[in-house]
């Protein structure tokens, strides 16, 4: 019989080795699929690099994937640090987008700086409230936040659908179910594809880093996540801490709704998230909930996303093949986490050791 036991803490050298091995293995396995899709794997992988860094325009596209993913991951991280499993980033994202759109509809004539500020505040609040609901029930009645936040995603999606197909449907779109585009004074300024949200993201990264490592509340969130007993024993107000963490977590995810509507899509729609709210969970987790690694990993994921969409057009391969490659790489990287922390032992050996 074989069973699994936990390893000691892995060394940095082992960590790097195992991760590199995982990526190499993933590329090898993906090659099989690529060959079946009648493409040359090496060319294709070079194509991914080309698609991400080939020229300024493509690089801007990569960053456009990275910014929302990064900020969403930061949001998810704050909640996860407290062991509050917020898997509702997707919903908070959508609600934030609704908040930004609402501002545009109510005050269509605000000057650009005011507009951006108001949109930011509204999208933050909308996202925060969306997470505050499950957080309140968790703090008060001990409900399970995983299911609660997950289901809140579908409610948010349904609200957006209702807005898009009915309440906010643009009468000038010839019957097309779409919400009117933002006016020019509500679009984030951009220079050759790099828009203002990048500046926001940089500020947020710095803030998040100091918040988690050098603020009382950040410290309390970490303590609460590690052990509720210890938190109680230190006199930390558990309910208050949960609420604050939820506000920040949901708010950050909500802000992304503004980045996406005002920065990239120019309008609210049901497809606006592109599933990034879920990808962010993987990014935050793979980064060990540490801000510097979140920056690094959201970049890596952005490369996968942008590279994947580029090779579809450049190599004329089906979109599903690009998705499969992404999935395989992800699968191997996640699998390598297991290899980092556990190893297999046969029963005979353990008995000798004991």
């Amino acid at each position: 019989m074989i069973h699994v036991i936990k390893k000691d803490v892995p060394k940095t050298r082992d960590k790097i080795l195992i991760r590199v091995a995982a990526v190499v293995a993933a590329l090898l396995v993906s090659s099989i699929i690529v060959i079946f899709a009648d493409a040359n794997p090496i060319n294709l992988y070079m194509g991914i690099i080309q698609g991400c860094f080939g020229n300024l325009h493509r690089f801007a596209a990569t960053i456009q994937f990275m910014v929302p993913l990064l900020v969403l991951s930061l949001g998810v991280m704050v909640a996860f640090k407290m062991r509050f499993w917020n898997i509702g980033a997707e919903g908070q994202f959508l609600m934030g987008a609704i908040g930004a759109t609402l501002v545009v509809r109510i005050f269509p004539n605000l000057p650009l700086p005011m507009m951006i500020l108001t949109m930011a505040v509204f999208s933050f609040l909308f996202g925060a409230i969306w997470l505050l609901i499950p957080a309140f029930f968790k703090a008060k009645y001990g409900t399970n936040e995983t299911l609660f936040t997950l289901m809140m995603n579908y409610i948010a999606l349904t609200i957006v659908t209702a807005l898009q197909y009915d309440f906010w449907k643009d009468p000038g779109a010839n019957g097309m179910p779409k919400i009117a585009n933002f006016p020019a004074n509500a679009l984030l300024p951009s220079i050759s594809g790099f828009n203002l949200s990048i500046v926001f993201a940089i500020i947020l990264v710095i803030l998040a880093y100091f918040f988690m490592n050098y603020s009382k509340i950040g410290f309390e969130i970490t303590v609460l996540g590690e052990s509720e007993n210890t938190a109680r024993y230190l006199g930390i107000n558990v309910t208050k801490t949960i609420i604050i963490a939820a506000l920040i977590s949901g708010g950050l995810c909500g802000l992304v709704g503004m980045f996406q509507t005002a920065g990239i899509s120019g309008a609210l729609s049901v497809g606006i998230t592109g599933g990034l709210g879920f990808t962010a969970i993987i990014v935050a987790w793979l980064s060990g909930l540490k801000v510097p690694f979140i920056v690094l990993n959201s970049f890596v994921f952005a490369v996968l996303l942008q590279g994947g969409s580029y090779i579809q057009t450049a190599f004329q391969i089906p979109g599903s093949v690009a998705e499969m490659i992404q999935a395989i790489i992800l699968f191997f990287i996640l699998g390598s986490e297991f290899a980092l922390h556990y190893r297999f032992v046969s029963d005979k050996k353990t008995r000798e050791v004991a």
């Binding site: 007993n229 109680r232 230190l234 006199g235 008995r351």
Partner: protein, 508 residues
């Protein structure tokens, strides 16, 4: 001769890491007998039974069941041999009825539930044993005793004729215990053999035929009930007083610092966990608290620290009643709690943080503003590591969970002492430590005592309690059964108090 025994365990040894949980243990069970295993916590009772039930595989030794040498790899193997163990925590499906719980997982059931057939079989068995089970009652509507009967029934229904009951009476009322004992006697009548793990002497004397006493992972003796008495059993259970190098420091005690008056607390199931407890604690005194695990020590500690709700009574500290104050305020008054739970890191320290951050835990609120600064804590952590000789590669970026148990406890206790508390509550401070590390902890406590700090020391090891403490409060099932001077009493007397026998040994 051999066929009389349904179970024979010889030379059983099981090592966990460096700890010998079982050290050449001998045990045998005769057919149709009720055999009690008696011992303090950590004596190895449950470990031994887990070996018999296939949860642990012994490193050494031979098990013979019904005259055949066997190796038991899992509870399933055990059940095939007719061995069934009643789990301490019940594993029942709340929304299922008794019948469905019995049927679930039973190999006798067909893919489609034949309720009538099971009902018939259940009825027969229920009558035989005189059990009070309604097959259609849902588990969530059952009392603890009913759930227990159902668990026993489940094991029997699956064909076990050797039954292991692990502290079955801990959760029951006296009346329910009586019923349980009746069921046990009926089971023996129908041909079962029963092993019952307990530390309650009176129950042992009432129910068992033979008694095996265990202490510190070894069997001390197996005796027939009719040849023994509670005093002798208590003596064997606690052992002889060992010569320990835990010097009792004579300090003339100062004024009264803490007065606990008639406090009572109840748990979730409305069972009183603290029952009318009163004692005083003086400056320059180490007041020990002895008792079988789960006699209310944890609740007492947490109650004083403001973490466990006290229903009635008074705790007077600094001329004020601190009941109802929140933990933070109590902490500010100078009451420090260092509680070492079974998993050591559950409360007080954050395992994934380094020493600096763990020191910071108690300091971060003292700085103004929103931010935290690690400057002061770094200094304190450094001083702590040097002073207490904590062996750690670094104080930064090295999670305390990576340290050895002794060093973790040094950090915990050292931090509390560093805060110059006015009252120290410490529970299980030497839990899991080797002799040398324990020594350091005792010395630390004695130094504090000399500084006239009142200390409440909750301990497990009677030898240590007796040589370290000035007085010992003995708890049994949430009640104080005695407050004794360890230099004027015997270990056996305390052992009896711990088991709830209160006639002798009380302080005058």
């Amino acid at each position: 001769m051999n066929s009389d025994y349904v179970v024979k365990m010889e030379n059983i040894t099981k090592v966990f890491g460096k700890v010998k949980a079982l050290d050449h243990v001998e045990f045998s069970l005769k057919k149709g007998e009720i055999h009690a295993i008696l011992g303090e916590n950590g004596a190895g009772k449950s470990s031994l039974m887990n070996v018999l039930n296939g949860i642990y595989v012994p490193d050494q030794g031979r098990i013979e069941v019904k005259s055949q040498t066997v190796t038991i790899h899992s509870p399933k193997d055990a059940l095939e041999l007719g061995i069934g163990m009643l789990p301490q925590h019940y594993k029942l499906v709340d929304v299922f009825s008794a019948l469905e719980n019995v049927a679930a997982g039973s190999r006798k059931t067909t893919p489609f539930l034949n309720k009538k057939k099971i009902l018939d079989e259940m009825g027969k068995l229920i009558n035989q044993l005189g059990m009070d089970i309604d097959p259609n009652k849902k588990v969530y509507a059952m009392s603890v005793a009913e759930k227990q009967s159902l668990e026993i029934f489940k094991v029997l229904y699956r064909g076990a004729d050797i039954l292991i009951l692990d502290e079955p009476t801990a959760v029951l009322t006296p009346q329910e215990i009586k019923n349980l004992f009746q069921i046990i006697r009926k089971m023996v009548e129908v041909g079962c053999s029963v092993i019952i793990i307990t530390h309650k002497l009176d129950e042992v004397m009432e129910i068992s035929d033979r008694i095996t006493i265990m202490r510190k992972g070894t069997t001390i003796e197996t005796v027939n009930k009719k040849d023994t008495n509670p005093e002798a059993l208590a003596g064997m259970m606690v052992g002889d007083v060992m010569e320990l190098n835990v010097p009792w420091v004579e300090v003339t005690r100062g004024e009264k610092c803490l007065e606990v008056k008639n406090i009572t607390a109840i748990d979730k199931n409305k069972v009183p966990v603290l029952n009318n407890i009163s004692f005083d604690l003086y400056a320059g005194e180490i007041l020990g608290v002895a008792g079988i695990a789960g006699s209310g020590q944890k609740e007492l500690c947490e109650g004083i620290a403001g973490l466990y709700p006290i229903k009635s009574g008074e705790i007077i500290f600094d001329h004020t009643n601190i009941i109802g104050k929140n933990p933070e305020d109590i902490n500010k008054m100078g009451i420090s709690l260092s509680f070492v739970p079974e998993d050591r890191l559950g409360m007080g320290l954050v395992s994934s943080m380094d020493i600096i951050d763990n020191v910071l835990l108690k300091d971060y609120k003292n700085t103004k503003g929103m931010g935290i600064s690690r400057v002061i804590s770094r200094g304190k952590a450094k001083a702590l590591v040097e002073k207490l000789n904590v062996s750690t590669p670094t104080i930064e970026n090295h999670a305390v969970s990576l340290l050895s148990g002794g060093n973790i406890q040094k950090v915990l206790l050292g931090r509390e002492i560093e805060l110059e508390p006015r009252l120290m509550l410490t529970a299980y401070a030497t839990r899991g430590l080797d002799v040398r590390s324990s020594q350091i902890i005792y010395d630390l406590l004695n130094i504090e005592k000399k500084k006239m700090i009142p200390i409440l020391y909750i301990g497990e090891d009677l030898d240590v309690l007796m040589s370290l403490c000035d007085r010992i409060v003995v708890l049994c099932e949430g009640k104080v059964t005695g407050i004794v001077n360890p230099r004027k009493t015997t270990k056996e007397a305390i052992g009896l108090l711990m088991s709830g026998v209160t006639e002798e040994g009380k302080e005058k």
